[in-house]
Symmetry: D2
């Protein structure tokens, strides 16, 4: 059997560990041939495909990023073509299927988020078997208990909170950390609890500045004249669509353009509390670096499981962590909905029991 | 309600996070009073008990060890007493129950391994309610999917493997790392896969030096003239009880006294392969340091859950991670057997698919 | 002898190590009494002064921040007073001297940057002996080879570059990291070389976007279609005062308000090269966290040396690293000028020999 | 000009950074050709020499070890030859010079410790120009203020002390850490001060167990019932040559064979104090891993400086850190003596002022 493997969407710690496990398992256990598709789906369209032997994956286990390259915007079904400076979007899926046939690929292993896995499904519908490996540092794919990369991102965010703590305490300041999470607050709540934050703002729970200020004042009253606020980039104030929608009338402040929710929260808290406040946007640091041992292991298990699934003849499935077991589930079932932090769930309850405010 | 909390057995990253969550949840959510029992069960016998208020737990979340102190040998039911240099073991459980009554403790939260939790059960049988929080860096308690401290220990072991890799490769050597795991190979197999080891030796799978040598020779044949061997302290050669039993007749080498299984494996591999071989015993480094964010969160959830369980009126239970949920299960059910690495399970199969040898 | 110690200005990894060394050396070696002045110079004005015994400094060596607290704006000679919402600046130096006399302090150890040390000199002129300990993460104090805190900040910046590398390479992007350094590029050049940056922009060397683009294009030509740019916050384009001066006429972009030089450089490079570009502002993360061993040692040596200097009867000096030795030099000589990166010096030449562009 | 570069002796963090800087500087600045000699001097004898282009050094800056390989025992002047199982030592220097001529190498850059640099001098005497780059994690080369690799080793040792602290404190134990340093105590004293050790034992200061016990008892008297002891592998008790010389008559204990000075100190302290004591031998972990930013920078400066020296026509010199400057000095002057910790110097005095005992 000859399989192709590609990485799609934003980079994520552990991608190389998946690739390595795919290559090693396929060659050692089954004598398959593995080909690497470069730069996400665009490598399928452009026929940028390279053989992956045992030597190709030496030393990549602890390395972040992906040796195959990746892109964020590369659907062959709506492929960006620039002609004389004009941008057009064209269906290149037939060209991609042609490449697949020409290269003799029997199946694809697609390592990606819901965008990349939805495209994978379309290729399956066109007749090529696909196995998905769910990837997102946001941990918001419903079909798996954990995605690889999340533990690393969460650890980076927690380390940042640890660092901000010393400044907050020494300067009696409010330090705000903006972390990733456009639709789900997993990084914010995990790192916020692990780092000992005082306020955690997540997309799942609309907040008010009154509640945030009340928490900060409660701390001041107890002699704790500093606070740590962790805010997911997708968090929003109650009723506050304007925060992500653009300029407020009668208000020169536009959080979207000026620096996102972190800066918005900073300005508002400064106004509400009168305390010195600083914001840090963690940004790309969350995607980078060597994966944690947890992520290296999970990514390795996923990669190996994807090949075993292929060898068993499974079709159109994705790997999934279910409790302590790695299993496979139907691909579309795995990504049909986003996994959000349950606002009444144990995590939020635990956080609240510790005195953490969600601004609600 | 007035509760006592104690930490028993070997220290473990995350103990302070549990204590902090117990104190915060008990005081904030339920207005309970919390008392800390010092130095494991001996504090119960000696009446070394201190009040734990909100201020007591400030800043301890990221710190290793336990602010309460701990000991390894302290059962009140077989308490070590030294009189005129003579050691005797005495049942001091009545004295401990007397202290509990005098202090007005309504329940105990016991953070410990199977030893400490078995003692907890005996106190429950004497009439004091107990809630257990399972603790072991070895991850070998059957009643929970994960114990806190394990992720930190595993990360320390993985980092050590990363470091040994560069020396192994530069010097064309075989580097052996002895990690903890007297009865179960969890640290060895997790860190071994995450660190890219070539050979992993665990108590669950007896090994032979022939198989280990074969693996090393296979690598040399492929131009990889170095290897990394991770060995759990409880691993043993097939039929090889003598390794932990003492001096071999007709053989001056005694692995128990000289440095454990790591050194034994080193000498044997040197003999079998003729290659330069070095051993490192990771030892106490695995118990120390700041807990990983994963462990801080798990420990916090356990501590909070223990108090919620008490508040709900539960008795004689322990907290447990079940999939992604923290639940409670009957205490004795939780610790009735050790959790070992299944020799035919997915983890071992994944490792073997990657080419890792278990010496079997 | 009774000495007061205070920390002034922005927080910095190693402050606690200095305080600890001062306390231990003063008490153990000389039987001095040590008092801690809280929140920088404002503690002198407000008489917030606490005794520091051996117990006060237990466990603080590896901790960031300062147990004494600090502020950025607190000169007793121009002290901010708010009355009925009106801000006024008043000379409170007499009040501070009164506190010093009342408390019976024989000398002050001032741990601070050039701002705090200039104020120290004024107190010396008023008749109280002072010993300065130079502190800045920017490493820009001329009187010492190295300041503590710099190694930690530089390590944090280097780790960030390591993380951005994997994203840059996987996505074929230009990643920009803005680091501290308003007047001197030490963090940028050290971390840039240590992290393998392609372009380093520092205040000492005005840059042009033509030169930066040329470097990026040269890399693309060699198949390296990603680049890492490290920019100190005080870097500026040749002739480009407008970057830090405010809004450009006929241009809605204002780098000062919108996000500093990092964002400005990002927008310009995107325009010049057409490549995807992302910016990360490291900000307060550089000030926080546990000091590196190097900084813990240097800070400890400074603290101990300051007390020895006092005991020897020295006056109006500051501690200084000179080669491998910690010595003392006259205070005003130590801070009379800023130490900048020599544009023709060995560091810049080394960087250029490696192919790093400074945009000049 | 065509230059050869080799790495000799034990591996050390930063070797790859030197190689990279040599290659980049030589090719970019001077159009030289660079050849890599594999596995230390044995590559010169065996003619294992590979071209090093710009591509060879991509991505190696943050990686430990050496891409060229190294060995500890490889002097061409006393080369180990095994014939029919018989080991003989033969002068192969002519063969090596023949290889140098055949390959057309105009000069050698030797990255190594005093052993490798002494051999370098012999090659210079035979007529080939050599430039030395001093390398040792022990920091004991007199001709330079700092060697690269030392900061990383010291950081690893300090991190280990941090980890042992939590166990020591939680269990009221004495924890002993054996670190490298056969002839000089630099790692022990730097990491001991940075990690807050209570006792530091170094080769330069003979110790007695009475003094060590007194220090431990003094701590117990102050309620600090745990202690951290850092011992360099070459430390020895006063008058105690037998510790490193072999078996004591009338004494079954032999520290050399059984586990070195760490275990010896453990047994003795246990006997003297009656307290629970544990030993950890850090061993090879100190040589491995990614170099600290400090070491990456120093190694890069050395590599670049070595090439500049060649280009300037210098002969028989080694690179050296002098204060903040990298300079060159005559090779034999640089290594003529070992640099030891001055027993009356500032570092030892600082440590003693903090209350640290050296057992003297």
């Amino acid at each position: 059997m000859r399989i192709g493997v590609l990485t799609g969407g934003g980079d994520c710690p552990g991608l190389n560990a998946v690739i390595r496990a795919v290559v090693k398992t396929a060659i050692r256990d089954y004598g398959m041939e593995v080909w690497g598709i470069k730069n996400g789906y665009s490598g399928l369209v452009e026929d940028e495909i390279i053989p992956l032997g045992m030597e190709s994956v030496v030393g990549i286990l602890p390395r972040g990023g992906t040796i195959l390259g990746t892109t964020n915007r590369d659907s062959p079904f709506r492929y960006q073509v620039v002609t004389n400076g004009q941008v057009a979007y064209v269906d290149k899926s037939k060209q991609a299927m042609e490449v697949i046939r020409k290269r003799g690929l029997d199946a694809l292993i697609i390592i990606g988020g819901d965008g990349s896995l939805n495209i994978a499904q379309k290729f399956y519908d066109l007749g090529i078997n696909v196995i998905g490996v769910p990837k997102t540092i946001d941990n918001d794919i419903s079909g798996t208990d954990m995605t690889f990369g999340f533990d690393t991102a969460m650890a980076t965010a927690t380390e940042a909170i640890d660092k901000l703590h010393t400044t907050a305490e020494s300067h009696h300041r409010i330090m705000i950390l903006e972390v990733m999470g456009r639709d789900a607050g997993w990084i914010a709540i995990h790192s916020g609890i692990a780092g000992g934050a005082d306020v955690i703002l997540i997309p799942e729970i609309p907040f008010t500045f009154e509640k945030i200020s009340a928490k900060i004042q409660e701390r001041v009253a107890r002699g704790r004249n500093f606070s740590i606020v962790v805010v997911a980039e997708g968090a929003a104030p109650m009723g506050g669509g304007q925060v992500t929608a653009g300029v407020n009338e009668g208000n020169i402040f536009n959080p979207v353009k000026l620096g996102g929710i972190g800066q918005y929260v900073q300005e508002k808290i400064t106004t509400c509390t009168g305390q010195e406040t600083r914001v840090t946007v963690l940004g790309h640091l969350q995607r980078g670096g060597s994966p944690t041992p947890f992520d290296r292991l999970l990514a390795t298990r996923y990669g190996s499981a994807a090949v075993h699934a292929l060898a068993r003849g499974e079709q159109d499935v994705m790997t999934s962590l279910h409790g302590q077991d790695v299993i496979t589930i139907p691909l579309m079932e795995g990504i049909k909905q986003q996994k959000q932090v349950p606002p009444q769930g144990e995590l939020v309850r635990t956080a609240k029991a510790l005195g953490i405010s969600f601004g609600d």
